[in-house]
């Protein structure tokens, strides 16, 4: 039978009379756990922010028509040359359009799929921005702006004007911020654009778009799909890209493959597009855990040392306890409870320190053009990190306490009493 009250009382007395060692050992754990919580909250916060940045800017599935040479050259159709070795030099791509063949049926099909959160058509046109005598090359993207705003965070990047403004204007354009600066244009002004064929159209600037990535902002603008179709003189079914957002991102790769087969188009999933990005996240996580575990191991050694010292100092007490009827297990439990009290107190303090530090970081200003919605450093307050943190504190103090307490369990009282 184990008498916990007595055991805990002895453990408590030992800890209180050795306040300095107790505090040192607890602070070791506090430091380790606090650093773990702070690091992991901050690192995963950053990861998540970067992930969502990519996720929101990249469609889950991107459907387009790739211009490529025919796999079968006409000569292969001739039966006469069937067994011959044919050499065709200077192959050119098959004459075709960038247009997705049956864009509207695909769009309809996607909108009826219950796995699809949204699908929007896009028309990408090469144009020139005319500013006086200067021509700036660039892109004009025809979009269904309201649907675009629903399934992506494009709204965050429209720094002047709103998606509605674009939707409500026949000849509106959301001008790239870099372009606006170069041409000294602002909201409400007019800008002339010219197609590759040379037709010139005046468009009204209803807003400014800034992704934060200069290479995009210097060349790209948005207009309504209809507007761009009209500028190019194309029919209503002329779209070059379809962006799909799914309810479950995990299904993207399989679905992209299915779409390619079914509609003879090119479909890339976000997973293929961002394979490298994943690696980055994984490495950051790895570093976080490596550093945290190192800190906790150092804290564990601290506890091990201090308990060892304590047991060495308390040899006489251990002998007395054993001589008066405490069993080896009782003695072990006395020292294990000390380790666990240090672990619990240090661990809980560590969680508090980690939380406070996270809060501090969370309030530090962090502004970047690329992330218009973010104003402070991102922190991920996940309860699981706190659960893992306290478990780790308890496990490491348990291990650190086990060896010394096991030694105390086996101390032979006769040897101590004899003084050898």
């Amino acid at each position: 039978m184990i008498n916990w009250k007595v055991i805990l009382n002895i453990a408590k007395t030992h800890l209180l009379t050795k306040m300095k060692s107790t505090v040192t050992a607890s602070l070791g754990v506090t430091f380790g756990i606090g650093a773990y919580i702070t690091l992991v909250s901050f690192m995963t916060g950053l990861n998540e922010m970067l992930d969502s940045l990519i996720l929101n800017q990249t469609p889950h599935i991107h459907i387009y028509n790739e211009i490529e040479p025919s796999e079968k050259q006409p000569i292969a159709l001739y039966q006469e040359f069937e067994d011959a070795f044919n050499v065709v030099s200077s192959i050119k791509p098959k004459q075709s359009q960038k247009k997705i063949h049956n864009g509207l049926p695909i769009l309809n099909y996607l909108k009826n799929d219950k796995n699809v959160y949204g699908a929007t058509p896009q028309l990408r046109a090469q144009i020139f921005y005319l500013s006086g005598s200067i021509e700036l090359g660039g892109n004009l993207l025809g979009v269904d702006i309201m649907e675009e705003a629903r399934i992506s965070n494009i709204g965050d990047y429209i720094i002047q004007g709103t998606p509605e403004d674009l939707k409500n204007s026949e000849n509106g354009i959301l001008l790239g911020a870099g372009l606006a600066k170069k041409m000294s244009l602002k909201e409400g002004d007019r800008v002339q654009i010219s197609t590759i064929r040379g037709d010139v159209f005046p468009l009204k600037i209803v807003g400014i778009y800034q992704s934060g990535i200069a290479e995009i902002d210097n060349i790209q603008s948005y207009a309504n799909l209809k507007t761009v179709q009209r500028i190019l003189g194309e029919a209503k079914n002329y779209v070059t890209d379809i962006n799909v957002k799914l309810n479950d991102i995990e299904a993207a790769t399989a679905m992209a493959k299915g779409l390619e087969k079914q509609f003879q188009v090119k479909a890339t999933s976000i997973n293929e597009a961002n394979a490298q990005f994943e690696t980055g996240s994984n490495i950051r996580n790895l570093i976080t855990y490596a550093v945290s575990i190192t800190l906790l191991i150092v804290a564990g050694f601290g506890i091990y040392n201090i308990l060892n010292m304590l047991i060495y100092e308390k040899m006489k007490d251990i002998a007395i306890l054993k001589a008066t009827g405490f069993s080896g297990t009782d003695v072990q439990l006395i020292f294990m409870s000390q380790a666990m009290i240090i672990g619990t107190v240090g661990g809980i303090l560590g969680l508090a320190v980690g939380f406070v530090l996270s809060k501090l970081i969370d309030n530090v200003a962090f502004e970047t053009e690329a992330l218009p919605t973010i104003t402070t450093y991102p922190i991920n307050y996940n309860v699981w990190y706190y659960i893992i943190g306290i478990s780790f504190a308890l496990i490491s103090t348990f291990v650190a306490g086990w060896l010394p307490s096991n030694k105390a369990k086996r101390i032979d009282p006769v040897r101590i009493i004899r003084g050898t």
Partner: protein, 224 residues
């Protein structure tokens, strides 16, 4: 004849640094209510024997009985319980837990036994302290009292669970003649008033002479 403690052919060897036959065929008994002293030259094996009798040392051959039950071969857990309940032990050096108060030191073995409530234990402990005339020290830290006082606290602690037998390894060895005399009269009173059995190792001839029986040891043997 009711034997509290009995040994049958106890032998013990120390193997290090070389084989040394320290106890040779020890057979004797202590009757209930008997006050026995053990004498013998230094190195004759008195302490070694006492550690075996107190169940702390289990590395021996032969048989040890306490209240007519065989103790030899019992598990460590069980030996701890027996030591706690049936055996009171007083060392030559007053071993007390220095961070605890006098009262807590006395109460600890009873708390471990857990047969009584804390209030009862405290009451019993105070009684023992009063009997030994140190009740004023009850709430002092054990490290802040004199040697003679510590020895009396150790006796109170040994008595707290009303053991079958009290063993002492030169309990007066470190005390002046006045304190020595004091401890002897306490033992005598415990025997007479409470019928306690005592087995005390001593070098003090006067002390031994006044006990019921002296066991003489020489070179690991009991002389008749």
């Amino acid at each position: 004849m009711n034997l509290v403690l009995e040994t049958k052919n106890i032998n013990k060897h120390f193997l290090k640094p070389k084989d040394f036959h320290v106890l040779k065929d020890i057979s004797f008994g202590v009757e209930a209510g008997e006050f026995v002293s053990i004498m013998g030259k230094s190195g004759s094996g008195k302490s070694t024997l006492l550690y075996i009798l107190s169940t702390m040392d289990t590395d021996y051959t032969g048989e040890l009985f306490l209240n007519n039950t065989l103790i030899t071969g019992q598990k460590h857990q069980e030996l701890s319980r027996i030591r706690n309940k049936h055996i009171g032990f007083v060392f030559q050096f007053h071993y007390l837990l220095s961070e605890f108060s006098v009262l807590e030191n006395v109460m600890l073995p009873a708390k471990k036994l857990a047969e009584k409530s804390v209030a009862e234990i405290e009451h019993d402990a105070m009684e023992k302290l009063i009997m030994l005339d140190i009740e004023k020290l009850a709430h002092q830290r054990a490290s802040r009292i004199s040697g003679g006082e510590k020895q009396r606290v150790a006796i109170a602690r040994a008595l707290i669970n009303n053991p079958s037998i009290l063993m002492g390894d030169e309990p007066t060895g470190n005390l002046d003649s006045h304190n020595s005399e004091n401890v002897f009269s306490i033992f005598k009173r415990l025997k007479e008033e409470e019928g306690l059995s005592l087995l005390i190792v001593t070098h003090d001839e006067d002390f031994a002479k006044r006990t019921d029986r002296i066991i003489q040891m020489e070179d690991g043997r009991v002389l008749d």
